[in-house]
Structures are given as C-alpha cells and as structure tokens.
Amino acid sequence: MYRREISNERKLSILVIVLFLHLVMVSTHVVLKNNRTLFQTIVAFIVSPFQVAFQKTIDFASHEFKHYLFFKGSFTKYLEIKKKYSRLKYENYILKRNLIENDFTQRVKGKFQDFIEADVIFIDPNFPLSSIMINKGSIDGIIKDMIVLNEEGELVGRIVDPITLVSSKIRLITSSIGGVGAYIEKNKLEGLLTGNNSAICSFKYLIVNKPVFKGDRIVTSGTDEIFPPYIPIGKVVETQKEYLTQKVYVKAFFTDKSIKQLIVIKNIKHE
C-alpha cells in the first residue's frame, strides 16, 4: 500500500502541537495557590495585558470623547452666550439711550414748551467753538435765528444759514462773528458779549461805576431782539478796569458741558 511520506519536521511540528494541546487540557486541572487553575492563570497572564490595554484604550477614548463633547457643548454655549451678550449689550445701549433721551426730554419739557431735540453731527475741527451742525433741518421746522440751548437750558448759539432739509448750522456764542446782548444778573449791568473762538468771551461796553466780580452770572438781556431775555450764558472769570469802561471776560457755561444733544427753541417759556 502506498504510504504518503511526511517530512520529519512536519511530523514533529504536529506532535508538538498535539502534545501542547494535551498539556493545555492538563493545565485546566492544576489548581494553584490562588485557587485558580494553571490554565486560567496562563490565559489571564496572556490575556490580561491585552485586556488592560483595551480597557485603557476604551477609558482613554471615552475620556477624550467626553472631553470633546464637553468642549463642544461649552463652545456652543459660549457662542450662544456671546450672541446673547451682544444682543443684551445692544439692548442695554438702546435702553440707556432711551433713558437719557427721556430724561433729557423730561428735563427740557419742564423749562420749555415748544422745542426740537437735535444731535450734533459735525464740529469744525479748526474752530470747534465757532460753529457746529445739527441733524435737524427745515423739514423738522428749523428756521433761521432760532436759539439753541444745551440740556441745562444754557445758551449755546443760534441757527444761521445754511439750513438744509435735514441739517442746520449753529453759530455758537463763542464765535468771533456776531454778539449777544447780555447783562450781569446781580447788578443788571448791560453790555455786548462777543466770542473769540475760544471758551472765554469778551463782555464789552460796561461802565466802570458798577463793580463786577468774578463768578457773577451773565444772562441774555433781550435787547438784541434775537435772543430772549434771562437765558444763562456764563460766568465772569476776569475783570479789567479801563478809563471809563471795564473789560470783563466771561466763560460760557456750555463749554464745560457736553454739546452732543441740544434743543432748538421755538417759543421760550419764561421761568
């Protein structure tokens, strides 16, 4: 009978595998000191590094995934909060503006019956105390020579040409052009207030016999028939006595305050 020849190496390999399988079976009956069989211990010894590696991998992946989700959630929340913050900031700005406008309107309403609120839109950078532009024009009822006050009711200037549909020019009382008929509130000493394109105005033609002191308030006299009387203008900062007259320097009230918002008076209400 033909018998297939098998190489010795192959025979030995098969024999070793079979014997190894027998030893594996035997090892399932060998109980060690830890009450586990040899087989269990060997399997655990072989498998445990993989198990540990797998567990660590899973833990790492889980940890990283949780972190990723957390960061993703946090980032989404951050974006939402940022958006909300921007919206609230804008709302806050609107509310603040409304509050200021209402407050301004309420304060002005107490003093003047008919007026137009206006915002300054342009200041001449070369002569900031000469003239300015406001955002109200003829369409809002602005006409020439209307007087302009700040929110405290102090004189700022008057409307001059050019007046467009949506904007108007204001010549400030500190401008070197023009003048305002005024007097010292305390002693009724009357004169002409002219500007110098600076915060300090000159108060001219005051006779020397009535003393003028620093801090005296200057108000409009109404004699120029442009500005109504009793509107506060400024206060005396310096006096110079000459032969028959005295020269007084006045600082306009509005120069120390904001001129962002102004009111244009149609019919002034006397206090």
Partner: protein
C-alpha cells in the same frame, strides 16, 4: 475478512476494557486493553492515524483513570509516536518481543502519566500502574497473538 476481524477484535477489547474498569475493584486486575489497540495501530498505520488514535485512546484512558484529561493523552501520544517511528523494527511475530514491547512501552507511558499525577495531585508512584498493569497488559497482548491464525488476520507476517 482481516479488516472485519480487526474491527471485531478492537470492539471486543473496548468492551472488555469497559467491563474491567467497572469491576476493577472486584477483579483486582488492572489492565489497559486500549493500549493494545494503540500499539497495533502505531506499528501498522501511518503517522496521522497513530497520533489521532493515540490522542483518542489517551483521552478515553484519562476518563477511566483519575479523570484528568490530557495526562494519558500526552503520554500515550509520545509513546505512539516513538512506536510509529520504530515500527519497521518491530517484530510482532515474536511473542516474547511483543510482551516486552508492550510491558516496557506501557511502563514508560504510565511513568510519564504518574509524574503528572504526582505534580498535579501529589499522588505517589504507583506499583500497580508502573509494574502490574504493564505486565498484565503485555501478557494479554502476547496471549492474543499466540494463535497463528490471529496473526494472519492481523497482518502479522
């Protein structure tokens, strides 16, 4: 005819082994008749058959003795491999040689098994396993081969 005889003889030996195992305590005789089948297969068959049958017979023997799977499987496989390798030099016609072959090989196989039992269970070396069983099994094997007709049927020339 030879094939049927061989199968019949193997079946008889298996049944007798089961019977011996069952009444071992009463008969006081420790025989391993399956080992006879294994030696015959190792001497007459190829490598794969030898290894496969050694494994199977070893596992069955494990089931009969101590019930620790793998011990006799291991020892029987080694012996079967060795017998298979020297099969060209085995002369089954000589009954004395058959007896010595069976006794010595079974003694070595049982010695290997006993070492395992000693390591695993702490069982001391058994005279029964190392001496009496090989002697009795060798005698039975040699006795079976005494009639020349049986030798013929078993292809022992």
């Amino acid at each position: 005819m030879n094939r049927k005889f061989k199968i019949g003889l193997f079946v008889v030996l298996i049944i007798l082994q089961i019977a011996f195992h069952r009444y071992e305590n009463i008969l006081k005789i420790n025989l391993d008749l399956l080992y006879l089948i294994l030696v015959y297969i190792s001497a007459k068959s190829g490598f794969f058959k030898t290894i496969l049958s050694a494994t199977m017979i070893g596992l069955v023997t494990d089931h009969f003795c101590m019930n620790i799977l793998g011990v006799f499987g291991f020892s029987r496989t080694i012996i079967a491999y060795i017998l298979n390798e020297i099969s060209r030099h085995i002369d089954l016609k000589n009954n004395l040689f058959v007896f010595l072959l069976l006794a010595i090989s079974l003694c070595i196989s049982n010695l290997i098994s006993n070492i395992f039992f000693y390591i695993i269970l702490g069982v001391k070396f058994s005279l029964n396993l190392l001496f009496y069983q090989p002697i009795f099994t060798g005698l039975v094997g040699a006795f079976i081969l005494i009639p020349s007709k049986i030798k013929e049927y078993l292809d022992v020339y």
